[in-house]
């Protein structure tokens, strides 16, 4: 079974989204549940795909808001499945405009994580 842990940055993001974009937050969290079900059903994190997930560099996965209803802003919840530890790290959440900087941010998280063990 995979465990889940978040960064403190995600905690700040979450508070902002609860106030400004609650429907988008609910949609990506619903897809997080679906993603974790798939993770727990697969031999590894690369053994499955889903319409709401996008593979990004460094093993980062972006979960979008699909299925949450119409008129939602394009949103991405960035997660990193650490295969050896069986821990899914929730890194940050952002919109489509923030995507390049968010992916850079997540890449730095994974790299620092790898170098610090």
């Amino acid at each position: 079974m995979w465990q889940i842990e978040a960064t403190q940055q995600w905690d700040k993001d979450r508070k902002w989204y609860e106030k400004k974009r609650p429907a988008e937050l609910a949609a990506v969290l619903h897809n997080l549940k679906r993603y974790v079900l798939q993770l727990n059903s697969a031999p590894n994190a690369k053994a499955f795909t889903a319409g709401y997930m996008h593979h990004e560099p460094h093993g980062i996965v972006a979960l979008d808001q699909k299925g949450g209803g119409g008129n939602l802003q394009e949103t991405r919840l960035y997660v990193y499945p650490h295969e050896e530890r069986k821990v899914l790290f929730i890194i940050t959440i952002g919109n489509k405009d923030e995507q390049p900087s968010d992916i850079q941010f997540c890449s730095e998280f994974v790299e620092s994580f790898a170098s610090n063990g």
């Binding site: 079974m1 465990q3 889940i4 842990e5 978040a6 960064t7 403190q8 940055q9 905690d11 700040k12 993001d13 979450r14 902002w16 609860e18 400004k20 609650p22 429907a23 937050l25 609910a26 949609a27 969290l29 619903h30 997080l32 549940k33 679906r34 974790v36 079900l37 798939q38 727990n40 059903s41 697969a42 031999p43 053994a47 499955f48 795909t49 889903a50 319409g51 709401y52 699909k66 299925g67 949450g68 821990v87 790290f89 929730i90 940050t92 952002g94 919109n95 405009d97 923030e98 900087s101 968010d102 941010f105 730095e108 998280f109 620092s112």
Partner: protein, 199 residues
């Protein structure tokens, strides 16, 4: 760029780990409104999630499932990413056959708890009645059915007792039965099994 938000910083991990997303949402103090919205969305994919669990329990990957039912892995991925109204009976049947499981489909307004208990009670009655008829075949079957009746009786009473203990005043249990016409002295399922005021 979204200028309303503060610049992101590499803050440490929270140090709190959870075994499920539900635990995570509760532990990280996600608001009740957002959790309720997530729960509403969950209901729209309950059947799809049952299919994913069935595939998992059968030890099949998406690719293996695709091979078994003559589809591509992409098609399985699409199906498992969809919502319940998009699933066809043909797909349900294919998953049931490939995983060796069976799925019951109920269409229409969801039953409330009381309707659901009654529905299952009638189902239990029907199956026990069929088993009782089977018991007439020979002594060996009779003994097996008799043993099962004992087990079922014990289990049903245990379930009732455990659930009743969760009630605010779980120390006493109220049972009201009415004998109807010339029927056997056993309780009639058509009669109220729960006081009317509780319904």
């Amino acid at each position: 760029m979204n200028t309303e938000r503060e610049k992101k910083a590499h803050l440490p991990l929270t140090g709190r780990r959870y075994n499920s997303v539900d635990e995570f949402l509760a532990g990280e103090c996600v608001s009740a409104d957002v959790r309720s919205a997530v729960s509403t969305l969950d209901k729209e994919t309950a059947v799809v999630e049952t299919l994913i669990r069935a595939r998992r329990d059968a030890g099949l990957t998406q690719q293996q499932m695709a091979d078994k039912i003559g589809k591509t892995q992409g098609a399985i991925s699409k199906l498992e990413s969809s919502s319940d109204p998009e699933i066809t009976l043909e797909e349900l049947a294919a998953y049931a056959k490939a995983t060796g499981q069976n799925f019951g489909v109920m269409i229409g307004k969801p039953m409330n708890h009381i309707e659901s208990v009654k529905y299952h009670a009638f189902g239990i009655k029907e199956h026990l009645s069929k088993l009782a008829k089977e018991a007439h075949r020979n002594e060996e079957v009779e003994q097996a059915v008799q043993a099962f009746f004992g087990e079922a009786f014990f289990n049903i009473l245990t379930i009732l007792s455990k659930c009743h203990d969760e009630m605010p005043n779980g120390s006493t249990i109220q049972v009201r039965m009415r004998k109807v016409g010339n029927a056997s002295p056993t309780p009639q399922l058509r009669e109220p099994i729960i006081p009317a005021e509780s319904r």
